[in-house]
Assembly symmetry: C2
Homo-oligomer: 192 residues x 2
DNA sequence: GATTCGATCCTAGCACCGCTAGACAAGTGA
DNA sequence: TCACTTGTCTAGCGGTGCTAGGATCGAATC
């Protein structure tokens, strides 16, 4: 019994190592640099070992995405918990969200840009993704305004943040006035 | 002289063929399917011919992006020209923008998601890109509201549209309430 | 303690990718 | 007609994701 348990533990540890290494490599050199060969070399195993844990590269990206979604949810909740009024909570949420995207660009891409084989806006959406949306909804729902469905408001606000995050990082928006754009967004969209 | 002119004409025609074929292939089967081999086969030339027109695949994507940006600008201007008041213009703009993204997903990706080697928010930004932003600015600038820089407002509104476009298409947002989200965005952001 | 046997892992290889060197043919001007 | 430029193609490089099949190692059995 114990032997098998030890093996399962080791196997789980190796799986975590794969995900962590993929993430690290992606943040260091971008997802293009995350090849199965390089990844295998970094974890000091051969290539096929990766395929005994994941169906393919896509699933590895998906695993990084789930890990990242949980962190994003936690970051948002931590930021909003420290704020007093609804408006301040929304400010804090927006800043925390954009800050996460800026600090973890590869992870952010894994969650929202790349194909990690994850289902969204579905009943079989993985729990961390649903929870990340829930974290947004908790603070954004209370500033949706009369007659506006909280979920719909959250989706719209989230999309705006997502646009700012991606366009800024892709060099499509000059980074100087990032703070002003956030203020504009919050001031106009949030109803207090 | 005339011989050389004819050759240049033919060469230009072939270059247009390459760009059009790349775009077509991308819209049909996605950018992943646009390989230099397949593209060469479709235009009935060998692979290296592509490299006599473009430095590489990236530049081909860039060419599609520029073509698309010009169309996007035209679509936005056509839609806003038909509207009477500022608010209606913004509605029309938002719908035209999202419609373009939905109808030409591959082109939209080439412009805003993929690396086409294009400079943005720079002095050496290609003209079609600057003009596309200008097209947005023309209608959005007039609803920025007092004390808000029109350019900054346009950037923010654009980012919100971009977020809606990408998240919807990537399956991150359910497509049902797309219209409601647009209305919410316009009603809250635009000051009339 | 030797032996069987199954799980585990690696070597080698597939078809494909972007890109390029060098051979070759076709068309141009003398 | 001939030299030469120009244009195009064949073939190949190193890389990619992924997999088949053989080797190895450790656990359980006699």
């Amino acid at each position: 019994m114990s032997v098998q348990e030890r093996k399962e533990r080791e196997r789980a540890a190796r799986e975590r190592l794969i995900v962590a290494t993929a993430r690290e490599l992606a943040e260091q050199q971008g997802w293009d640099a995350v090849t199965t060969r390089r990844l295998a070399e970094r974890i000091e195993y051969s290539q096929p070992v990766l395929y005994s844990h994941f169906r393919g590269k896509r699933e590895i990206i998906g695993a990084v995405a789930l890990e990242g979604a949980a962190e994003l949810a936690a970051a948002v909740r931590a930021a909003t918990a420290a704020a007093d009024c609804p408006r301040e909570r929304v400010y804090a949420l927006a800043r925390a969200y954009l800050d996460f995207a800026a600090r973890n660009p590869a992870v952010y891409d894994a969650i929202f840009q790349l194909d990690g084989g994850l289902a969204f806006a579905h009943e079989d959406t993985p729990e961390p993704l649903k929870d990340a949306f829930a974290a947004l909804l908790e603070s954004l729902g209370e500033v949706a305004g009369d007659g506006v469905h909280p979920g719909l408001f959250t989706e719209t606000f989230w999309a705006a943040l997502h646009g700012l995050a991606t366009l800024t990082r892709a060099g499509r928006l000059p980074p100087e006035d990032a703070e002003l754009r956030v203020e504009l967004l919050v001031d106009r969209l949030a109803v207090v």
